[in-house]
Amino acid sequence: MKIKHSLFTRRRFLNSMIGGWITAMGTAFLAPIAKFVFPPNKEPDEVLLPKSDYENMEPNTVKLFSWGAKPGILKMNDDRSYTAFVAVCTHLDCNISYLPDQRKFFCACHDGWYDENGINIAGPPPTPLRQLNVAIDEEHFIITKDKGNE
């Protein structure tokens, strides 16, 4: 049915009302779902490692710790200073390992290599390993996010 001066029929009006209503309802439901499926980010700002567990390392060796859900690697350098990395390949996220005799980090997933300072030197990794800051107090190694390198 169409009233004389109307631009569209009553049926069309009702259809678009229903359609619009369903779309609006659907979208209204989507937003909370989209929120729900992304859990809060769990990467820590700082991790404390008991000093006693890590201070007796030898130069050119590494020890693992957990950096949130990722492995972290604490490495003692030749001058007995420490460097920490997120032990995750910058290519596609595989966990890496340190090969002391070659003085390199190695990723087995696609043959990625980093030198002892975490600089990518061969294979697909596009950037160096993510470095973390290491500070030492009486009882702890304090590992914090490196500001410039997130």
């Binding site: 492995p71 997933c109 294979g123």
Partner: protein, 354 residues
Amino acid sequence: MNKLNIRKWFDDRLGIDEISAFMTKKEIPQHKHTIWYYTGSSILIFFVIQILTGILLAFYYKPTLELANESVAYIVNDVPLGWIIRSIHSWAATFMIALVFIHLLSIWITKAYRNPREMTWISGVLLLVISLAFGFTGYLLPWDELSLAATKVGTDIPRSIPIVGTWVTKLLRGGEDVTVETLSRFFTFHICVLPIFILMLLALHVYLIQKHGSSLPLDIEKKNIPVKSIPFWPNFIYREAIFWLFLLGLLLTIASLFPHHLGSPADLMAAAPEGVKPEWYFLFLFQTLKIFPAKILFIHGDTIAVLLICLMGVLFFCLPIIDNKPAEKKGKIITYAAYVFILYAVIMTVWSLL
């Protein structure tokens, strides 16, 4: 009530006669490409096997950090016939995906997606995507070293897509990293989300096939030669049944001779083991990613590779719309593209295994 009446009672309510009339009236054309028609129903057979064995496995499987690997080991070692059920589930997945590839390629080459069957093709490509998603999510569930590393790599790949990428990765992983959240998520996808989608799409796909009937090869259709055909029921079904039996025999033989291996439990902190590879059907993509250099000019090689793969996917999806003049030169080139694709996939796959 005698037998006739019972039948009639049901027929009045369910319309059985209409369905069986449709089945006997449905004709399957016989020509040199008829063999490819068999692949469709065989996929269904494997799909049914996947549902059955999947339900059985879910009775014992526990998607948690401590128990995932252990429960699979329990199925394999302790549950009566557990080893073969699991082996069938993983091998039938291989068979099914192989058949889906063959099915789609045969349709590409014979151009069975021609007007008016474009939507049948599109629903088919979506079914391929869902089948691959089944494979990808299922691969993680045993939660062993290799499956963990492969999933880390696999879920990190979308990250190289500009803008939406990071979100996709987060959505898949349930956070920044692959953790136990990823395991629950993949399990939910595998046994709940994907089954709903595959059943809906399958219904659409089968409906469209019934609606449009079997497609004829281009040359026959063009010359308008009458083709011989046989009734779908029972003649064609019987022939198909031979093929199904053969495949089932093959499946059981392979599944019992080469049961799927279960590695040691995944350790989120351990370095990735050597030889991380995805399932065979992802190998050609895996190798493609691997051969791209880390940087092309100033862009990450991966970004380019992933975008190229996405572009190929979109082209594949729209194939019947692109191939709108199947009988002309353009159509021929598109058929050759299928052979090029096959060659590429085979070479890459072999290369990744070397």
